[in-house]
């Protein structure tokens, strides 16, 4: 039985990732583990490559990311005050590669990430990242699907 001493929460800079951080922090408190939060920035639309002006989409995407980060900062700061050791890392690139690299580098025991039901097209276009991680299985993987209730965090 492996000990759970280092937990990695994967954040894709969306508001829903706060749930994964909430689970991660809660488990860290139970196990007395160290928490790593990996923010992976991956722009699926590659704005520049379209050779079309898309300021509204780019701007909306950036704004959503900033709002999500502000939400997560609130949670992370709250958990730090509660005594949970949290290390944040921001990486840009292919999510699967970044997650697997970090799991190996930091000798992670448990990865926590978001998952949801996917249609065939969505799965084909975007959804293979979780599957790839599950195939490689660098350690145990926790797929969060459900909001555990509205957690209240101080500002």
């Amino acid at each position: 039985m492996e000990d759970t001493k280092r937990i990695l929460v994967v954040s894709r800079m969306t508001k829903e990732c706060a749930t994964a951080i909430h689970y991660g922090a809660s488990l860290c408190r139970k196990y007395g583990a160290e928490l790593f939060v990996l923010h992976v920035i991956h722009e699926p639309f590659v704005f520049g490559a379209w050779n079309l002006p898309m300021p509204s989409i780019e701007e909306a995407f950036r704004k959503a990311r900033e709002e999500a980060k502000a939400d997560m900062d609130k949670i992370i700061n709250f958990e730090k005050k509660q005594g949970v050791a949290i290390t944040e890392v921001i990486k840009e690139g292919d999510p699967t590669k970044e997650i697997l690299d970090m799991a190996k580098d930091k000798d992670i025991d448990l990865i926590i990430l978001l998952s949801h039901e996917e249609g065939r097209l969505e799965h084909f276009l975007f959804g293979r990242s979780n599957e790839e991680i599950l195939r490689k299985m660098p350690c145990s993987v926790f797929f969060v699907k459900h909001e555990p209730g509205p957690p209240s965090y101080g500002g």
Partner: protein
């Protein structure tokens, strides 16, 4: 946050690891554990022949044998729970594993499903299918923790 854990087990080495993982997590969180074993009838060769011609004198003993095996490895898991002071109960069902796991998880209102995975390659997964992938992609709001071999 986690007060009920469902562990899907088939008695394999990987499943035994997820049983130990679940008991350890239950000790930390004070959760109760439900051990579920599903007898996959689709694996019986007799299912492919018409019901009238189905040799029940062969089919029933196989199902009984698998049920006894499930009872044995679930009893082992429950003994581990008693030793660790973790509350537990067991459920044995027949049917399609993915359907039965999700059905039982929703019926028992569990907060987490724990299962094992081998970390198989693309070809093996495509050919043999995977209960873990099935549960992950099912329309259920319950989190899934996949433990390593």
């Amino acid at each position: 946050m986690i007060s009920n854990i469902l562990v899907a087990t088939d008695g394999s080495k990987t499943a035994k690891n997820s049983v130990r993982y679940a008991i350890d997590l239950a000790k930390q969180t004070g959760a109760a554990v439900i051990f579920l074993s599903v007898i996959d009838k689709s694996l019986f060769v007799m299912q492919s022949v018409p019901a009238v011609a189905s040799p029940t004198h062969l089919k029933e003993p196989i199902e009984d044998f698998l049920r006894q095996a499930a009872e044995a490895y679930i009893a082992e898991a429950e003994a581990l729970c008693r030793k660790g002071g973790v509350e537990s109960r067991n459920v044995i069902r027949s049917g399609h594993p993915v359907e039965e796991i999700v059905k039982e998880a929703e019926k028992s209102k569990v907060d987490l499903i724990i299962m094992g995975a081998h970390g198989t390659g693309i070809l093996k997964t495509s050919l043999m299918g995977s209960v873990t992938f099935g549960v992950m992609q099912k329309d259920s709001k319950i989190p899934v923790l996949v433990t390593r071999k």
